[in-house]
Assembly symmetry: C2
Homo-oligomer: 333 residues x 2
DNA sequence: AAAACAAATCGAAACGTTTCGATATGTTTT
DNA sequence: AAAACATATCGAAACGTTTCGATTTGTTTT
């Protein structure tokens, strides 16, 4: 691999002059620049990024760290962050934290291979975040509250979401409302669940443990959980799935058992993923301002990067999207 | 930021000893290692990744370059590449080539910030790929044929896919088959379209230009294109959408106009994206072995990285997934 | 024509590591 | 007890850039 040294030699100038000529606004004579550029082309010279980053100790790159690069959930978020980063002349790289503490993502954080990061990955521990964030290296955390210097939290109010979803079902006259849970210790799940509980207790309703089944936030999990609910014999009037993917699986299970939605059971989801509007019947759900949150996260990160003051915590509220998977309860005697 | 120099000083050892102690199998006395580790902890030392990469001139990271990080299409691919990379002790970073020649992605290629790359991004030019690939820096290209040293092609046979889809419709008795196109100069679109043409001409069928409408591979585009088709008054018996996203949009347009699928019009898509099985009616489509292709790409990349011989080109075939959006044509007189 | 200045070029240091050959220390062999 | 060896530590060079202050060259002012 040709280095700038080779280029300089071929062009017959000093190393530093070559660097100047190759750079942006260097004050070199046009003739010299020409010579250097030609030499570079001839040698197929490409600058070594690491050497540059090392010297400059700045990368103009931010990382978006996700627990999983795939999955419909992240699309919108990635998009918004990318749009914003690009508009500020920064590069964005997405890295996955699969592998937990040994993942690419954590390596990027620890070793400061980027100028800052946005994190939405529950498998990156608070400690890592707290240790990594520092002067000149801000981190925006999207999926939980974690306190520390140079750490900024952007939250979507899951408790409110859980509350709204449940309240909506209650207002439709339902009283017996099941909750299909995500992983029990997931921050998102805990939030949504506690909103569900608040709505129930505000209306003096009982929570039935046998209707609280774990579906792991996956479609398959939602399917299985719903099958279990059906097998128990005593069907609830409405089911609140802690995310849309589980709701989709659940609807499939209900359909297979010949149970009509929303006539026999009302179903509500959470997330408003893309396919929710295409399922039959279309799924009533809670929409999270993902694009907005991503955009806000990016915004805050850049502010922090530029040394401006930023609040340490922001919270978004959610919105109920009414579709066709819920119907008023028939008046019971 | 503390450097290894500071650590060494605090621990009272030489710089090189500190480096040894911090590294893996360095031959240092346990006592020294202990001292160094403690000093490092105290100073909250984190190694500088760039300096390391520069010295080592190896990153143990590969890049997956996509034209767009979002979108359901890439999920499976990302997953498979990631699984594979992880199993080989490599990190994966995904970067987007939004921004074309000035994008993060191209920068990563040019500046060799990774050890190798897998590219599925039509907005990265052949020239960039050819210039970037070199000894010790192999590139696997997924979406087109591009020749050169250290360049490896993995293709999914789009021509065959277009052919199969069209042939299936013909075998169901349809004769008047519309093609809703992606961007006209997209490699994928050209492939699929030429398969469509081959199937038609093999069965001595005419292609009607007015039924070849551009839908840009987006849902909105498919919707608009279909609206146009409907407005023309003369509806085809079957529509081949060059991807599922357009088909989804198209189905919505048909439904809005009260046209029944598949009774009045058969619809076939391409890609088998996740939501295709959930739309009503479920969408018959062409499934590409995306996971397999990604896995193969990763496989080949590592072989090349290890200096093993690899073939320069691989081709996968596609598979028709029969669902409910197509029906045999009623016998016409 | 000498002095003053600006522009272009150069040399050297620095960024923070890793690694190699050399030295110092301690242990075994003869 | 001297010689031979293994082990632990050290110093210095190297990776490929950028950048700063110094030097050279050429141009303008007095």
């Amino acid at each position: 691999m040709a280095t700038i040294k080779d280029v300089a030699k071929l062009a017959g100038v000093a190393l530093s002059t070559a660097s100047l000529a190759l750079g942006e606004g260097g004050r070199v004579s046009p003739a010299t620049r020409q010579k250097v550029l030609e030499a570079a082309r001839e040698l197929n010279y490409q600058k070594n990024g690491f050497a540059m980053d090392l010297k400059r100790s700045q990368t103009r790159t931010i990382a978006l760290i996700l627990s999983d690069l795939s999955g419909p959930y992240f699309s919108e978020l990635i998009q918004s962050v990318q749009d914003f980063a690009l508009s500020r002349g920064y590069d964005l790289i997405a890295c996955s934290s699969v592998g937990g503490q040994d993942s690419t993502a954590v390596k990027f954080l620890r070793e400061k291979r980027v100028d800052g990061a946005i994190v939405l990955a529950h498998n990156v521990s608070n400690e890592v975040l707290q240790e990594s964030a520092r002067e000149g290296f801000p981190i925006v955390v999207l999926d939980r509250v974690v306190l520390g210097d140079y750490l900024i939290n952007v939250l979507v109010d899951g408790e409110q979401g859980g509350y709204e979803a449940t309240k909506y079902l209650i207002e439709q006259g339902h009283r017996r409302i099941a909750y299909i849970s995500g992983p029990v210790n997931s921050y998102d799940n805990i939030q949504r669940y506690s909103g569900y509980q608040r709505a129930l207790s505000e209306h003096a309703l009982q929570e039935l443990k046998k209707w609280n089944v774990i579906g792991h936030f996956t479609q398959e999990g939602g399917f299985q959980a719903t099958k279990m609910l059906i097998l128990q014999g005593d069907l609830p009037e409405a089911i609140f799935y802690a995310n849309d993917e589980m709701a989709l699986g659940g609807m499939k299970a209900l359909a297979e058992s010949g149970i009509r939605i929303p006539e026999q059971v009302s179903v509500i989801g959470y997330d408003d993923i893309f396919q929710s509007q295409y399922v039959q019947p279309s799924l009533t759900t809670i929409r999270q301002p993902k694009y907005e949150a991503g955009s806000m996260a990016a915004h805050l990160l850049f502010q922090a990067l530029e040394g401006q003051f930023v609040n340490k915590s922001y919270k978004f509220s959610v919105e109920l999207v009414e579709r066709n998977s819920c119907a008023p309860s028939l008046v019971r005697k």
